[in-house]
Point group: C2
Chain length 336, copies 2
């Protein structure tokens, strides 16, 4: 194995010089730089990252903290898109990523602590936002740099948030439905623990009030069977003209339930949801959605964190990613 010392010896310089060449230090002559670079190539030298980490005390990796939820959550296209964009930003800056794997909140906290204490990561990106989150608190208390993808909480000036304006997004989507002529809407949400769902409900209710739309919102009805029962109980075809879901996987289950009940979209009822992905694009039928641009959420989050980590003069700032509505076959103008 070729080490820095080998290079130094062969090039007739000191280890420090070689190190400087690698870090692109500017106080080094063009001559020695060339010489050293050449030798490095000849020898096929590859720096040992571990050794570097030990002395710099920097891991050059960031931790990705996922929600403590079922495996299905991790298959949610929203996450894979965010994750992919984070990875590619990191890749560019020669950072690695490491993802949490815990399913209970207790395990998760411990996992994060272990990552911090063992110096395995330089910072975190939290892929959720939740009030009274012990992990949030731990990171703040221990001054570990991190950014949150999700809603701002506590108004802590030392924490960066990257989010959409979900109230607005939901307001726009509902307003769009209202514009199509809907006067009775059903709103389905997985739960109301996370901030994002609260906001989407808020936006929905605002339009309902403004435009005098009959409505009902239901939480925690998630599986295909549960939804089927709900649709039957609500006599869906008769009492509603549209259904809004907060999530693309929930929407998937809804469509499956409607298919089972032989309710046609958009003729018998119309549907729309949040978070665009192949799931919505290739649904039965393709769904009108709010695109929240997960790839931008991830990109900005990663860039912001890396900036904090690498630049002295980086300035804390939160970001709001704009959203847009994509119209597809699941909605259309209602005949009056």
């Amino acid at each position: 194995m070729v080490t820095l010392k080998d290079v130094a010896k062969k090039a007739n310089v000191s280890p420090s010089t070689v190190s400087r060449v690698m870090s692109n230090s500017k106080d080094i002559s063009e001559n020695t730089r060339k010489k050293v670079t050449k030798i490095m190539d000849e020898l096929g030298y590859v720096p040992n990252i571990t050794a570097r980490k030990l002395v710099t005390n920097q891991s050059n990796t960031i931790g990705l903290v996922l929600k403590t939820i079922s495996i299905e959550m991790r298959q949610n296209p929203f996450f894979t898109e965010v994750l992919t964009s984070i990875s590619s930003v990191c890749e560019e800056k020669r950072f690695s990523t490491i993802m949490t794997t815990s399913y209970t909140s207790e395990d998760l906290l411990n996992e994060v602590k272990a990552l911090v204490l063992s110096k395995a990561v330089d910072g975190f990106i939290l892929l959720y936002s939740m009030e009274n989150d012990p992990i949030y608190k731990y990171l703040v208390d221990n001054e570990v740099p991190f950014v949150v993808i999700g809603k701002k909480i506590n108004n802590d000036p030392n924490v960066m948030f990257v989010d959409n304006d979900n109230i607005e997004a939901s307001y726009n989507l509902t307003k769009y439905m209202s514009g199509l002529g809907h006067r009775s809407l059903l709103f389905l949400s997985e739960n109301n623990t996370y901030e994002v769902n609260k906001d989407r409900l808020t936006g929905f209710l605002k339009v309902c009030k403004e435009d005098n739309i009959q409505h009902k919102y239901v939480n925690e009805v998630v599986s295909r069977d549960e939804i089927t029962n709900l649709l039957i109980n609500e006599d869906i075809r008769k009492n509603y003209t549209g259904i809004v879901t907060t999530d693309s996987m929930l929407n998937l289950n809804l469509l499956s339930a409607l298919y089972k009940l032989n309710v046609n979209i958009p003729d018998d009822i119309q549907t729309c949801t949040f978070t665009d992905s192949y799931l919505s694009e290739s649904a039965c039928p393709p769904q009108t959605v709010v695109n929240i641009y997960p790839e931008n959420l991830g990109k900005i989050a990663a860039k912001s964190l890396l900036e904090i980590l690498q630049k002295e003069d980086a300035v804390m700032h939160s970001s709001i990613i704009p959203t847009s509505i994509i119209e597809r076959d699941s909605t259309k103008q209602l005949k009056s």
Copy 2:
């Protein structure tokens, strides 16, 4: 920050002793073990993994090599399930994982080389199998331990493969369709570059021949629109009673196309596919599938690799994961 030396000093022992306690060395007295453990707890000592890596020259992380394909590939539930199960096995054994991020085969090879040369990983899991793969060759040539999830190639005794018997799986699925009374089937496949798709076609054709089933197989027709055109051209309702797809995302597009054409499943036509996941379970309607148990593929692959890495006496072996058919609403007995 608490280091091993701090613990040693406080416990009045040497660093070596503390190190031995951590590694569960057996030549250490019960007394000192207890004493040291207690101090470690008191001080909240967490070993610095980086330092350990440097001296042991082991990274305790394994590299996951993904196909060089579009982002959609990474959203395929098959991958997320395999990945999740690999991660959880690694987590248990205190290994980390690192995933490749390259999209071109050239970049991918370089990424793998860099991982090897910088000692960033101890071994790899390849999440695909392909003939004449330069990465495969590189790993073999450089004696890097790895296991392949996918079909055995080259019959190399020094490489471990974990796979399903896809010929058999496809045979069984097609036989099942035949048993329902189907006598004309359409077979859709994304491509025939990877071994897995070749095998699935082979199994399909075998049954068609045995049971005298009219059939047609089509590659590279993937998007919703392409499929829609195909279905129209083939006059699908009239000429076929069933459609087999090789992949759950392809199946998703098929269902969307059928929905658009107002073709009902299973009344107008029946469908089935490979790889179970929420996509198939919550489809319109839920799909009959071959479960290839991605979680077991990942689990066995990870366990096999870790065994090689950790145990002296580990013995090379390839594994075949059994498959099974899950019957759902998309198929039923055909009335004759």
